[in-house]
Structure formats: structure tokens, C-alpha cells
Symmetry: C2
Subunit: 210 residues, 2 copies
Amino acid sequence: MPEHARNKEQAILDAAEREFLTKGFDGARTTSIAQAAGVTHAMLHYYFRTKEKIFERILDEKMRLMGESVLTAFGSPGLPLSERLRQGIENHFDFVAANPDLPRFLVNEVFARPERYEAMRQRIRWIMNPLLADLQRELDEAAARGEADPADALMLLLDVISLNVFPFLAYPVLEPLLGDLAGDRTRFFAQRKAENLEVIRKRLLKTPQR
Amino acid sequence: MPEHARNKEQAILDAAEREFLTKGFDGARTTSIAQAAGVTHAMLHYYFRTKEKIFERILDEKMRLMGESVLTAFGSPGLPLSERLRQGIENHFDFVAANPDLPRFLVNEVFARPERYEAMRQRIRWIMNPLLADLQRELDEAAARGEADPADALMLLLDVISLNVFPFLAYPVLEPLLGDLAGDRTRFFAQRKAENLEVIRKRLLKTPQR
DNA sequence: ATTTTATTTAACAAATTTGTTAATGCAAAG
DNA sequence: CTTTGCATTAACAAATTTGTTAAATAAAAT
């Protein structure tokens, strides 16, 4: 493929990513994408045929990125469990912080059109099930050694992801409540990260109570 | 206002709620709303002028409902802190379970168009700040009595809401990972509720460790 | 009963949006 | 140099979607 074409094709994809990520499929306009990419809107159809096809390219890429982020965040075997979890939470949190509109995009488009998601189910399993099995084994071993309470790996991972992702989704609603942190996005999210680490750390503590 | 008109107006609002909640503002079609309500689409404009105005009615109502749900869930003073939290988590979880597409709707529409939200900032503060202050006082007292670790009320509440809401947002992505729970939505969410209670309970435990 | 007001319908219109197409330019291969 | 194929543009078209309007109908008031 010629160089200048590749550039335009990529320019369109870049513009489409911004447009779809911020406005969703229904809110996105192919003319806006073309304008942002600096091409006539006929070029979009020349390269990608339809709006739907451009969208699929972006959605696939983002789904892959999201799955990969969880995998790379928590996939550090060889470390002690508590350290592995600490690093996993931090890495995952930082990833979400660097891609703050990714979760909303995926939640929306996947939830709104499950048929689009069908193709990904298998892939999600392939990626996540080994990680979950590995994590479960470590959790069981730690519990057997009396270092931690028993825990279900999926539930624990969902705890982490919920705590890491949701504050980014809800930030506009939270911001008026922040008091001295209001307006200071960075400081608020630093505090959230610490809180999430603490919550998960305590979740695993062995406690005789109750 | 005559009875039959009130009925049609209400039928339109009911249909609009379903349409907007499932498809969002951009994806919603006024003709679909009219059809679902059993009226010609001109009636929509007769009663509400514009699509935007119908949407605002729905959005306002849902924002109010959401704020109210948090308030009523956790607003039971007079109980011991741990019991108040337990009831709060359960009530809030049950509310989300009964309105599973509400969070996605609000996250979307509010995040996508912050200008729409401006009017609500003040109201959110009025509703939430007293609750937070009250909860903070109880947390401080419990900590002073040595019954719990110190905690920030807003952070704790955000823990709860994150844990309660996110699994509903992410369910389509989670479902392929559920193993023996796959397909059994009810059982999965029962387990989530128990997990969330446990996470928050442990979050407050006084621990000498670290 | 008549007038007045509110409700409803069908037809229309304007704007937007996605997608097509035919003509043109341009670069490389032969 | 010419031919071939890809890239690009401008103009167009079809479909959709929101909103309007004038006329018809029903209801309420006098």
C-alpha cells in the first residue's frame, strides 16, 4: 500500500477513534470524522465502505486493549500473592487513568448491542480463564498456609475492576461532592488508588472475627 | 387536564423512558416512542414540543431517583454503624438490581453532555453532603471507640457504589467467565451482594497488621 | 345550541446523514 | 509515452428524522 494512502487511512482511523469514543456509535457523524481527518467524506467509504465497518475496527481494537490491560496488569507470576495483587491493582488503575473514556465506550456499545459482542465471548474466555485459574491457585495456597482468608478469584478480580473503573465513570457526578478535592482531579484519583489498594488488602486478611 | 390526554401524555413518557434508557438520546427515535405509546408522532410535539424536552423530563426524573436511592438506602440513623452500613449496602444493591439500566443511562448522558448536568450539581450537594457529614461523624466515633479503623465517608460510600453498580454495567462481559454460574444471573448477583458486604465489612475492621 | 378551546390526524417540509457514482488526477509499469 | 490501476473529488441521491401546519374532530363552556 502506498505511503500517502496509508497515512490517510490512518488519519481516518484516528479521527474515528476520537469521534466514536466520545460520542458513541449513534452520536458519531461520518462527516465529522472526515473533517477531523482532513479528507472528503467520500474517502471514508472508499477505504472502509460503511460507518459500521469503521466502528468495528475501533471496537475490536478497544476490546483487545481492555482484555490485554487486565492480563498484563495481573500476569506477573513468581511474586508473592500480596505483591502481585498490589502491582496488578496499580497497573490496572494506571491503565484506566490513561484511557478514561474507554470503559464508558465499551460498557455502552457492548451493552447496547450484545450481538456485536458475540464474537468476543470466546476470546474473552481464552484470555481470562488461564489468568483466573492461576490466581485461584495462588489464593488457595495462601489460604492453605493460613496467610489469607479463602477467596474466589473472579469475585476478587471483579472487586478490583469495579473499584478501579467506576470512579472514572462517575467522576462528573462525584466532583461536586469532593470538598477540598474539588477540581483537583489528580489528587482525588491518587487518593482513590490508595483506597482501592487498602480495600483489597483488607479483603484478603485473615480475620477470626464475626 | 382531561383524563384521556393525561393518559396519552403519560403513555408517551412511559414509552420515552424505555426508549431513552435502552438506546440513549442519540439512539432514540421519536417515531419509535410514538409508536410504542400508540399515538401519531405529531402528538409528541403537541405535548412536549421537542425530543430534547421529553428527554429532559426523563433525565431529571432518573437523576432524582438515583440520588434518592442512595439517600434512603443509607439514611437510617439510630442503628449501630455496622448495621446501618449493612442495610445501606443491601438496599442500594437491591435498588440497582431493580433498575439495572439506570446507571448506564446516567453515566452516558451525564458524561457525554456535562452542560446538561450543571443544573444538578447544586442539588447533588444538597442531598449528599448532609448524608456524608452524618456518616463521617459515625465513622469518627466508631474509630474513637476503637471499634473500627478510621475511614473517609466519601471514599467508603464510593467503594460501596462502585462495588454495587459496576457488576451490572459489566455483566455482558463477565457472563462468559462465570463457569458454573453462567446463565444464572440471579445466583451470580446474589453472590456479588454477599461479596460486597464482606468487602466493606472488612474494610472497616480494626487491624494491627502492616 | 353555539361558541370556544383543546386534541388529533394526515400531509408536508427542511435538514441531516449515509452512501454512490461518474469524472478527474496521478503515479508507476510496460 | 501510454496504459493501467489506484486515489480523489464534487455532485448527487435515497432514506431517515425532527418538526410544522392546516384542517378535522371532540370536549367544554356559555
